[in-house]
């Protein structure tokens, strides 16, 4: 009756082992956790099982894991500092091609491109996280309220959403980049702990405090245009979900609307939202790189993929590596998030997940063990 009887490939065994380790760690801290959460653990295993059925999804997960890892540890493993300019010591490092001084070549300050890309991984990860943390919860809450209550409230929220959607994000970003930096730098300078925290987040040196504000201005501009999408999808899912009987059942025991929305509806619609978030991680990276490429956002010496390309355009095609490598990195990052997001669509939907369970086995194993799904216990 256990689901250990699935057909399992090497990937499934790796993911199972991973989950097993995680479960072991939790259950050493909290006694009895494993017993109470058997079903949840089985569900996790099934999620990975479903993900493992989709090769692009696995590749996506792999890429995303690498980029998240680089985002966290990149600045630490980078061979050189981003604000170390070799050109002052050796003028030959100026635009040196790959292999001459550095593996991936150097920019016009003689900086090591590899180090810049590693540092840039942190920049793009932090920006994506902040934009999504600022934009998504707001969108979800507004979408929940609009969808659950409907009527005039819905109308009001959604029309405001439409207004935001109609606003061109680029112009907003340019405007914000022009207006906000001064105020932000004032704010940051008045609260040194905040400044230190942000510098730590971006793995920047103290001296770069002044450059933070432009980056932040672009992030805020992006967050402002980011939430309407979430308000829309949340509202849509809420509309269908609020008709579900368990919502009515929650009302029948007297739960207030706020609890019904947060405890009952939200957990059941979070799947598609998470898919969207995953896809958006890629989109934010792309948008941010695009804005930096236009000269908004990150300013040198802060390492940013978009900015490297922007600076590299002056020396193209001679210094091709300044365009090709960062471009390729952005491509891989965005591709990773998108592949993962698409695969998660199946993984996070409990119904689709089960239907994957029942899909035909394309590769017929000669020794098909009689496998069983978790069977419902006899009544």
């Amino acid at each position: 009756m256990s689901q250990d009887e699935y057909y399992r490939g090497i990937l499934d065994r790796i993911s199972d082992a991973f989950i097993g380790l995680f479960v072991y760690l939790i259950s050493t801290i909290r006694k009895g956790w494993r017993e109470k959460n058997r079903s949840r653990i089985a569900e996790w295993k099934l999620m990975f099982y479903a993900l493992n059925r989709s090769p692009p999804g696995v590749i996506g997960l792999f890429l995303v894991t690498i980029f998240v890892f680089l985002g966290i540890f990149g600045p630490l493993i980078a061979p050189y500092k981003y604000n170390y300019f070799p050109i002052f010591e050796n003028s030959k490092t100026y635009l040196s091609p790959p292999g001459e001084f550095f593996v991936l070549g150097a920019d016009h300050f003689g900086r090591d491109l590899l180090s810049l890309l590693l540092q840039g991984a942190r920049t793009s990860l932090v920006i994506s996280i902040i934009v999504i943390l600022l934009g998504v919860p707001a969108g979800i809450i507004l979408g929940l309220i609009a969808g659950y209550f409907g009527g005039k409230i819905d109308e009001l929220i959604m029309r405001i959403t439409d207004m935001f959607l109609a606003f061109p994000p680029l112009i907003l970003a340019i405007a914000f980049a022009a207006v906000l930096p001064d105020r932000i730098s004032y704010l940051i300078n008045t609260y040194p702990p905040l400044q230190q925290f942000l510098l730590w987040l971006f793995a920047l040196e103290r001296t770069e405090g002044g450059n933070l504000s432009r980056l932040l201005a672009v992030m805020i501009a992006m967050a402002v245009v980011w939430w309407p999408g979430y308000a829309r999808i949340t509202r849509g899912s809420t509309l269908t979900e609020r008709e579900a009987l368990y919502v009515e059942s929650a009302r029948a025991i007297g739960l207030p609307s706020s609890k019904i929305m947060l405890r009952h509806i939200l957990p059941n619609i979070i799947g598609p939202i998470l898919v969207y978030v995953t896809l958006d991680f890629g989109t934010v990276v792309l948008t941010e790189a695009g804005l930096s490429f236009l000269g908004l956002g990150a300013t040198p010496p802060i390492a940013d993929w978009g900015r490297i390309v922007y600076d590299g355009t002056q020396f193209f095609p001679n210094a091709w590596w300044l365009i090709i490598f960062p471009g390729f990195i952005v491509f891989l990052d965005v591709l990773g998030w998108n592949l993962l997001g698409d695969a998660l669509r199946d993984v996070l939907d409990p119904k689709l997940r089960r239907s994957i369970e029942f899909k035909v086995k394309k590769v017929k194993k000669s020794k098909t063990k009689d496998m069983e799904i978790k069977e419902v216990e006899h009544e």
Partner: protein, 332 residues
């Protein structure tokens, strides 16, 4: 429980638990700019339910029986009429009185596949009502296990999710969740229509047992005459938002009076080929009309084989034909 002074108190027969008076629920039909009309889902429905009995409500889809059940619990706000529960008018309840009512009156839904939140474990599902109402429980696990055993599940099911259960078991979980509040009154909205016959019999028997053990009163809503007859002491037959006949189940099923009830009885296939193949079938005319613009007079007249002139013009009143057997028809 403190009730507001303005509360309308009714001199009540002490055995009556619930009295529904002229209950109405109209759903607006929206046009582009204006309301085009109303679906009169429930129109002037009155009945009483006594303590400890099962009152059956039977009718075809769209007759408003489900809406009645939900309106009584104020899951849908009534358009008009009164719902008197233990002498207090539910429609006038405010927040804290509703809190009390939500503990007393519960509902069990038709579809066990959607009535349980798929993200909650059985333990959470059963504990949620108790937690919300702040009822003190010594040992939550013991409390839940006790309830599960009452409805025919066991301790091993405690930390599982709904999708791991069959339809019948899910209905049992739903039962445990409802019973956790120790209610007096439960609306059973087609509790077995999504289940197979062999499972259905199990659930019906469990419901009957629990009713005796916990002294519950049921409003049993179903389209299946066989089940209603089996479960309920008294039965009301609904057609297009109106109750057309009410009586003690044994009497009503033996000798239906209203032509619609007769039609329903003749239309339902009985699991007995001798009766089925020999019984005279009433020719059924047409299909149930739309409740948006119901027919004038008696709503059944366009399909009624005995329709007279008066049926088209005037709505029939409820008449007591014999003791505890009322019918709304001009024939009587």
């Amino acid at each position: 429980m403190s009730l507001s002074e303005a509360e309308y108190m009714v001199q009540e027969n002490s055995r009556t638990l619930l009295r529904v008076e002229n209950l109405k629920k109209y759903f607006p039909v929206k046009g582009l700019f204006f309301t085009k009309g109303y679906v009169k889902a429930v129109d002037d429905v009155s009945f009483t339910i006594e303590k400890g009995e099962t009152f059956g409500l039977v009718g075809e889809s769209g007759c408003g029986k489900t809406t009645v059940g939900r309106t009584i619990l104020r899951l849908i706000e009534p358009t008009g009429g009164r719902i008197v529960y233990e002498g207090r008018d539910v429609t006038k309840f405010r927040k804290n009185e509703m809190g009390w009512f939500r503990k007393k009156a519960q509902i069990m839904f038709q579809d066990p596949y959607s009535s349980l939140n798929p993200r909650q474990t059985v333990f959470q599902l059963v504990m949620e009502p108790v937690k919300h109402h702040g009822i003190g429980v010594d040992d939550p696990e013991d409390f839940v296990v006790e309830l599960l055993e009452l409805v025919g599940l066991n301790e091993g099911h405690l930390y599982r999710y709904p999708h791991e259960f069959s339809g019948g078991q899910r209905q049992r979980i739903a039962m445990a969740r409802i019973l956790s509040l120790k209610p007096d009154f439960v609306v059973l909205d087609e509790p077995t229509s999504a289940l197979d016959v062999s499972v259905q019999a199990n659930i019906l028997n469990t419901l009957k047992d629990i009713q005796e053990d916990m002294d519950l009163t049921y409003l049993f809503i179903s389209h299946d005459l066989g089940i209603v007859k089996y479960m309920s002491h008294r039965t009301g037959v609904m057609y297009l938002g109106k109750i057309v006949e009410v009586g003690e189940s044994d009497r009503l099923f033996e000798e239906p009076l209203h032509p619609y009830t007769k039609l329903l009885f003749s239309a339902i296939p009985v699991p007995d080929p001798d009766i089925e193949k020999s019984k005279g079938k009433i020719e059924v005319q047409g299909e149930p009309p739309s409740p948006i613009n119901p027919p004038s007079g008696c709503r059944f007249h366009p399909r009624c084989p005995y329709a007279k002139e008066i049926c088209r013009e005037k709505e029939p009143e409820f008449k007591e034909i014999e003791k505890n057997h009322q019918v709304a028809c001009w024939l009587y």
